[in-house]
């Protein structure tokens, strides 16, 4: 019975997501003037695939030693480091790019050092710059997802391995975990990079670094060809579908039984962990320091509307996070219980172009209400939708474990419905739920997204205010407002993340 309700709810939700994501694209597709991709579109597709694949590969490769080091080292400030290292993923894109340029730019710290040493300077602009920025954004995500995987390995397994004298805990315990978690991590990163466009263009150095998303932007803005935009969005969906099914194929389900929540033991820190963590922390935190340094001077001279917008954005972000986590939990539980297609629906928002989604919603909704009336609710909805894939991914491996290890017990005890949620699901999943909510809140906070298409004069969110300030020469104030944004995103993230960990058994 309970199982059926879960399934029905998940189906309805999946249908809603698919309708929203595909319906908006369809709303544009019906205006198509002709079908067919231009040669420039093929070039954009090639570049998009190449940079996404490279960024994914590198992010995953680097995340493994970092997450492993974090999992087996205990030191003062470890939790703070984990939270802080998550920050880059939450930065608004252009803020992050400017932060990276403070280090690697033409006039950045690195080149200043090279010059002082009499070495030739390096340029960040090009494919390598794009990949560098994407790794900067996604390494934290990958690390967190893998770290959760390591945390989910019961300590008993390492003990057992020690007792049995297994030569390699990596091969027998950690590798199966990686095989279960990595495809999902890679998929998430690949899809994030797939729709990148500000990073790709700005750091790519020129139009050779054109992604599909930019082609969509062009189709909608200057060519006003919604049909072509929808076609390009269709290509993006197709790539997403291939990626989702590939990831599903390579995901193995591990199953070695549950543990008793003992503190992890038996995984001794290795000397390699120290330099790995130091380098990762430097790589991820230095650009943040630059963002703070850029923003500080004008922080006290911000107009009142910045603070109003910050409050508005924070409230919206929390609502979006609540929606996103609820939806993800429903979908993940259904997926684990064996419902097909649910995963596809959950990943779909990642493949959609924000611009297509926003424009489609605009076209569809304006027949009924004025766009301004909808600006804030639509933004919350879209933000919840955009965060869903990440929250889904975070929850999936752990819900799978929960289901496998506790489902029978719960059934034996007759634990179902609200009681099961209250006594089993929520406490067991507190960690990933907190992390997921924090991620969703912070992503929503920093997302410029659709609000730019809908907002009236007095409904500006903080990212929109940042953009408006920098569009009016007020770069200092824009940098300060961006700092407020970063701090607010971070506070929301930390609040949820730490809350989740406190609530965990």
């Amino acid at each position: 019975m309970a199982n059926r309700t879960v399934q029905i709810r998940a189906w309805a939700l999946s249908g809603g997501i698919a309708a929203l994501v595909l319906g908006t694209a369809l709303a544009l597709a019906v205006q198509a003037k002709g079908v067919g991709l231009h040669p420039a579109d093929w070039a954009a597709l090639r570049f998009t695939l190449m940079q996404s694949a490279l960024s994914t590969l590198l992010s995953c490769l680097l995340a493994m030693p970092v997450a492993r080091a974090l999992a087996r080292c205990t030191f003062w400030g470890r939790r703070a480091l984990i939270v802080l290292m998550g920050a880059p993923f939450l930065l608004p894109v252009i803020v992050a790019v400017l932060g990276l340029l403070s280090l690697y730019g033409r006039n950045g710290l690195l080149n200043q050092m090279f010059q002082a040493l009499g070495l030739p300077t390096v340029t960040i602009y090009g494919l390598h710059g794009v990949v560098l920025a994407h790794v900067f954004f996604n390494l934290p995500l990958a690390t967190r997802m893998l770290l959760n995987g390591w945390h989910a390995i019961p300590a008993e397994r390492f003990r057992l391995a020690q007792t049995l004298g297994l030569p390699s805990t990596f091969r027998h315990i950690e590798l199966p975990m990686l095989a279960a978690v990595l495809p999902g991590v890679g998929l998430s990163i690949f899809l994030v990079c797939l729709t990148s466009f500000v990073v790709a263009l700005t750091l790519g150095g020129g139009p050779a670094a054109t992604t599909l998303e930019l082609a969509i932007y062009q189709a909608l803005r200057f060519d006003f060809d919604p049909g072509h935009a929808a076609l390009l969005a269709g290509v993006q969906f197709a790539v997403c579908a291939v990626a989702v099914s590939l990831a599903a194929r390579f995901t193995t389900v591990e199953g070695l039984g549950l543990g008793l929540d003992r503190a992890p033991v038996g995984q001794k820190a290795h000397w390699v962990d120290v330099p790995v963590l130091a380098l990762a922390a430097l790589f991820l935190i230095l650009p943040l320091v630059a963002v703070v340094a850029d923003g500080l001077p004008a922080l006290l001279h911000l107009p009142a509307l910045v603070w109003q917008a910050a409050l508005r954005s924070a409230v919206m972000a929390l609502v979006a996070a609540g929606l996103s986590v609820t939806a993800a939990l429903i979908l993940v539980q259904a997926k684990v219980a064996g419902a097909p297609l649910v995963e596809g629906a959950a990943m779909l928002p990642l493949a959609t172009s924000g611009l297509v989604l926003g424009t489609g919603l605009f076209v569809l909704s304006r027949a009924f209400v004025s766009p301004e009336a909808l600006a804030l609710p639509v933004t919350v909805l879209v933000n919840a939708l955009m965060a869903l894939p990440f929250v889904f991914r975070l929850l999936l491996p752990q819900v799978r474990d929960l289901h496998r290890n506790y489902d029978r017990l719960a059934q034996t005890l007759g634990l179902s419905g609200g009681a099961r949620l209250r006594w089993l699901t929520l406490p067991r999943l507190a960690r990933p739920l907190g992390l997921g909510a924090g991620l969703a809140a912070a992503l929503s906070m920093g997302d410029l997204g659709v609000v730019a298409l809908f907002a009236g004069q007095d409904q500006a969110t903080l990212p929109l205010v940042v953009q408006r300030l920098s569009g009016a020469y007020r770069m200092d104030q824009a940098a300060a407002a961006a700092l407020v944004l970063v701090m607010a995103s971070f506070a929301l993230f930390a609040l949820c993340d730490i809350g989740g960990r406190r609530a965990a058994p």
Binding site: I94, G205, P207, R221, P303, A455, Q457, G471, Y473
Partner: protein
């Protein structure tokens, strides 16, 4: 019976409608309507003369304004569309959504400009802006720049109106040789950004020696920040112009009010607001003259501008040429 009810309804609604202040909706770009833009002052000034309210509805930039209008079509809630430039006016005209202007306001543009549908409210020359403490001998032409080792940041013509302006500039100055100019410029271009603010931000960060902006950009630094270190380089080929216009929608139910607004927009009161809020030249020089500081700006001897028809006809090919040459 039915008509009686209808009549009754009208009688009871009429006083309400009269009591309601009419609202004039202006579709414009973000930075026009922003607190620090010209929008609030112009709205306030107009509201004192019209017994009405002005409401701004915004989109990211001129191109976004047009794209939003195209989405809304004849059902647009806007009365006025403000902030298109001459590279966009032909597409805008082709939508058939605009009504002809009621009156032609006189303007002081450096080139003759009249349009039956669109009223210019400000304009500027595109220019490469540099830091005069770091660059003491700026290039004297686009060719000079292309031959130099200077690094520049430009905006993408596929997503930004200044970016498109530069493509038109090269086209207007060099015609059939424009491909060669882009070929020569390629090694000067550090990167291409999606929007003006990203390019300007990169320049201020020291990522490039020059950035594509406007001749009036140094005025912002001088007047608002008391910083005289920014200058615009004067180029021999002449400087391409951006003329920003406003028009009235045929679907507007408040044609008279819309006309009144356009007349106010061309008035001295509104035009005096433009220079230090939009950091552009007002279409009609204010009686009191331009604000102090504007006299320090370069005055290009030659203004370049493709007619809106030519700009629209050549846009696609020119952008493709830009893309091809810079992708090599």
């Amino acid at each position: 019976m039915k008509s009686f009810h209808l009549a009754l309804a009208f009688v009871s609604l009429a006083p309400m409608a009269m009591a309601q202040t009419p609202v004039l909706t202006v579709l414009t770009y973000d930075s026009f309507a922003a607190d620090w833009g010209p929008g609030p002052a112009i709205a306030k000034g107009f509201e004192q003369t019209c017994a009405c309210k002005v409401a701004y509805v915004t989109a990211g930039d001129g191109a976004a304004v047009l794209s939003r209008l195209q989405m809304e079509g004849a059902g647009s809630t806007a009365d006025i569309v403000l902030g298109l430039d001459t590279t966009l006016t032909e597409s805008a005209r082709a939508t058939g959504l605009f009504a002809p202007l009621a009156a032609q306001a006189p303007n002081d543009l450096p080139v003759p400009y009249t349009d039956a549908t669109f009223e210019p409210f400000d304009w500027g020359w595109f220019a490469f802006v540099y830091d005069n403490t770091k660059l003491t001998t700026p290039p004297k032409s686009i060719k000079d720049l292309a031959a130099s080792n200077l690094k520049i940041v430009i905006e993408d013509p596929r997503s930004s109106t200044p970016g498109l302006g530069l493509v038109m500039w090269v086209k207007a100055a060099y015609g059939d040789q424009s491909a060669q100019i882009w070929k020569d410029l390629a090694d000067n271009i550090v990167t291409v950004t999606p929007s003006w603010d990203a390019a300007y931000g990169l320049f201020l960060k020291g990522e490039a020696d020059m950035v594509l902006s406007y001749t009036t950009s140094p005025a912002y630094h001088l007047i608002a920040e008391k910083d005289a270190t920014k200058s615009a380089a004067a180029f021999d080929e002449g400087h391409y112009m951006q003329i920003e216009v406003a028009g009235k929608l045929a679907s507007s139910k408040q044609q008279a009010l819309a006309d009144q607004f356009l007349a106010y927009l061309a008035s001295d009161a509104a035009q005096s607001v433009i220079p230090t809020t939009n950091w552009m030249y007002p279409a009609k020089t204010p009686v009191a003259g331009l604000p102090d500081g504007f006299e320090t700006l370069i005055k290009p001897a030659k203004s370049l501008l493709l007619s809106s028809v030519k700009a629209e006809a050549g846009r696609k090919a020119a952008v493709e040429e830009w893309q091809t040459e810079l992708s090599k």
